[in-house]
Each structure stands twice: as C-alpha cells, then as structure tokens.
C-alpha cells in the first residue's frame, strides 16, 4: 500500500478519446467520413449501425490495428500513432476472436494475455474474477474443452484483470447467456465508475447500469 505513486500519477490527467474528421474506406468504397466525437472518463460510446457500415473497422482503427487514412484519433489530445507505447498501456481490446489458445489451460491463457499487457496478475485476484464469471474450478481445464459461452467468459475475465483505462469491445455479448450479459454490464459499469472509458458495438440492445450511452450512429455516406 506504500507504492500508490504509479496510480496517482496516472490519474493526474483525465483521459479522453476523441475522433476528428475520421473517415474509412474499404476496397475503394467509402464507409463513413467526417466522424467527430469526444469521449470522457466515465462515459461509454455505443457504436451503432447496420451490417457492413464499418463498426469493426472503426474499432480496429481505435486500437491501432488498422491504419487511419482520413482524420485522426486522439488519446489525451495526442494522435494515437505518435504515442503508441503509452496508448497501448491504456488499451484493452476484445475482438470477435477470443484470443485463447485452445491447447492451453484457462489459467495459462489468462496469465499469458496479462503478460502481453505487461502485468503479472495476483493469483487471488484471478481466482476472484474467475469466480465472478462462473469459471470456478475451470482454471486447469484446457480451453478446447469449454463451451463457446465459457470461452467468451474467459476472454472477458481478461478485461477485469487489465489495468487499462480504455476498453474497446467488439460485439462482447455474442454467445453469452442472460447472466453473462448482466455480469458484463456490471463489469463495464464498475470500470466506468472508476474513471474508465469504453467503446463497444452490439446488435443487441445494451444498457450499462444507469449510465447513459453516448451514441455514434454510423451511416454510409
């Protein structure tokens, strides 16, 4: 409890994510352009739009996985491509794929993804998170023996173990049962309440506690 220094310095600047005149085209076709948006701590951005309108492309641009052709994405008012290292420390991305190695156990997978984020999670905390996600006693099971929904839950426990302030979630509710949906909403709500930010897409109607969504409706121009 002595070394709270790191947290204090990181909280000194309130993080913010903003898009300025963001555009995207795929295969010569313009998906969206001139998207402006500012997301502040404690808020979540709900990216909505029909299939093929570029929701996933937008999210991949926010992560830095796809290059930005038009406009800019700013984190703390600095373009993300000029501060990659710092930005990645603040970012946790959950895509369509679960990023779980099937031939490894749940514990090994969680330890590995945490290591990629530059942290070694406390075993007690991992236990607690797994219990919350209904994965108690699954730690030593191989991921390939889990159901789709359980795999998704493992992938989501990664979020709970991550110190990142910005969560980027692409269709996080896929393959989840009702209890899972509630769990995830609670998790995001507590993340937002502690000053985090979240960007998510979903085809289902989503509500995160009593925190209103900041809508971003994408339309093909």
């Amino acid at each position: 409890m002595v070394f709270v220094f790191a947290t204090v310095t990181s909280l000194k600047t309130a993080p913010s994510l903003s898009f300025s005149k963001l555009g995207c085209s795929k295969g010569g076709r313009q998906l969206f352009k001139n998207v402006d948006c500012l997301l502040e701590p404690g808020r979540w951005l709900y990216v909505a739009g029909a299939n093929g309108v570029g929701k996933t492309s937008l999210l991949r641009m926010v992560c830095g996985l796809a290059s930005i052709e038009d406009g800019d994405i700013l984190w703390n008012d600095i373009p993300i491509h000029s501060q990659r290292e710092t930005y990645r420390k603040d970012l946790c991305y959950l895509g369509h794929l679960n990023a779980l190695q099937e031939s490894m156990t749940v514990d090994e997978n969680l330890a590995f993804t945490a290591a990629l984020g530059g942290i070694a999670p406390d075993p007690a905390q991992t236990q607690e998170v797994m219990m919350r996600f209904g994965l108690r006693g699954r730690g030593r099971q191989l991921v390939r023996h889990l159901s789709q929904g359980q795999k998704r839950r493992v992938a989501l426990s990664r979020l709970a173990l991550s110190p990142a302030r910005l969560w980027v979630l692409d269709e996080p509710y896929v393959a989840m049962d009702e209890a899972g949906v509630q769990l995830l909403a609670d998790l995001i709500a507590s993340h937002l309440k502690s000053g985090g930010l979240a960007v998510l897409t979903s085809h289902q109607r989503v509500s995160i506690g009593d925190i209103p969504a900041q809508m971003l409706e994408l339309q093909t121009k």
């Binding site: 790191a6 990645r88 290591a115 990629l116 406390d122």
Partner: protein, 231 residues
Amino acid sequence: MTGASRPIGVANVMLAVFKREVSLGMRQKGEVLTPLVFFVVIASLFPLGVGPESALLLRMAPGVLWVSALLAAMLSLQRMFATDYADGSLEQMALSTTPLALLVLAKALSHFVLAGLPLVLMAPVLGLQFGLDTRALGILMLSLLLGTPTLSLIGSIGAALTLGVRGAGVLLSLLILPLYIPVLIFGAGAVEADAAGLGIGGHLSLMSALLVLSLFFSPMATAAALRISLE
C-alpha cells in the same frame, strides 16, 4: 479493481512468450517430431539413391545433411504464426505493451529450440551413415548450431508475409529458400573446408555474422509484415 497485479519487464514478457511456445510444442509432439523424422528420411534416401560407394557419400555428406536440415526446418515454419492468427492471439500481441518485434524474436528463438536444436542433435547420427569421422561430425554440429537459428529468424519473415494466404506452404518455400543460400554455402562449406585441411574460422565467422544480422533485422521485418497481415 485494486488488486496486487504487478508490472513486469520486457524480458519477462519475452520469456512468457518463449515458455508458451515451448510448452505448446511439447504438448503437440507431432509438430516437433515430424520435421525430425523428415530430416532422417531425406538424409537416408541419398545413400539409397546414389549407391553405397563410400568415397562419394563422404564427399557429399555435408551438403546433403545441410540441405535436408534446411528443408526440415522450413517444414514447421508455416505454423509459426498461423494458429495465433486464427484465434486472435496475434492481435493481442500486436497490441501488447512490449514491442511486437521483441515478441517475434522470442517466437523465432522458440522455433529454433523446437525445430532447429533437434536437428543439430540428430545430425551426427545421420553423419555416421555417410562415414563422417568424429571431427567432421563435431564441425557439422557446430555449423548447424550457428546456422539453424538464422534459418528460424529469416523464416519468420516468410511465415509472416504468407500469413492467411492460400497455398502459403509453397509460396513460403519460394520466398525463403533463396534467402537460405548463404547459410547453406557457409554451413556445408565449413565441413568441406576442414576435410580439405583448410581453416574453418572464416566460415564460422561469416555464419556468426549472418546470425547477428538476422537477430537484429529479421524481427523488425517480421513485425512489419505481421502488421500488414493483420490489417
């Protein structure tokens, strides 16, 4: 989330990648054993094909063993990033706080341990088939030990470039085999030079230079290729 998760250094992240790859390799034994068996079979076909004339076999032993090792090491390259690409782990690596090039380096080194090192250890057994003496076997092992890490490192570039491409296996060999030529020349050359009574210092120095160069440049090239594949 207060928790007592503690930050870990770059070296530890690389170690985590290395350990993961090695333990995965140990679990999927077939993937480690296939290149090794391939190496044995190819190297054993030559004496059967060209006949049992010992002088001829002795003469071509270094080249044959090196070419077989090269092909065997290439066999497992395609899988270097394929599963991570398919399950999304590669995206997470690209978003890691540790530079992707360093993670790639750890992966290439684990490929050497799983695919290259077994070849180094198996080579003397096959060398005996060709009638190589103890000294030549030692030099063969040494040249393979210096050369196979380079093969893994250069190979990682090809594996990254052909990621997600149909018919990646053939394309990979077309891309990578020409780049393997220097390693082959100096590797097989070292054994031949010693048999001819010449010094092997030059050959080994050049192989070390190739290793150092590829240690430095290939992870960067691979990381750049992976980012393109991920887009």
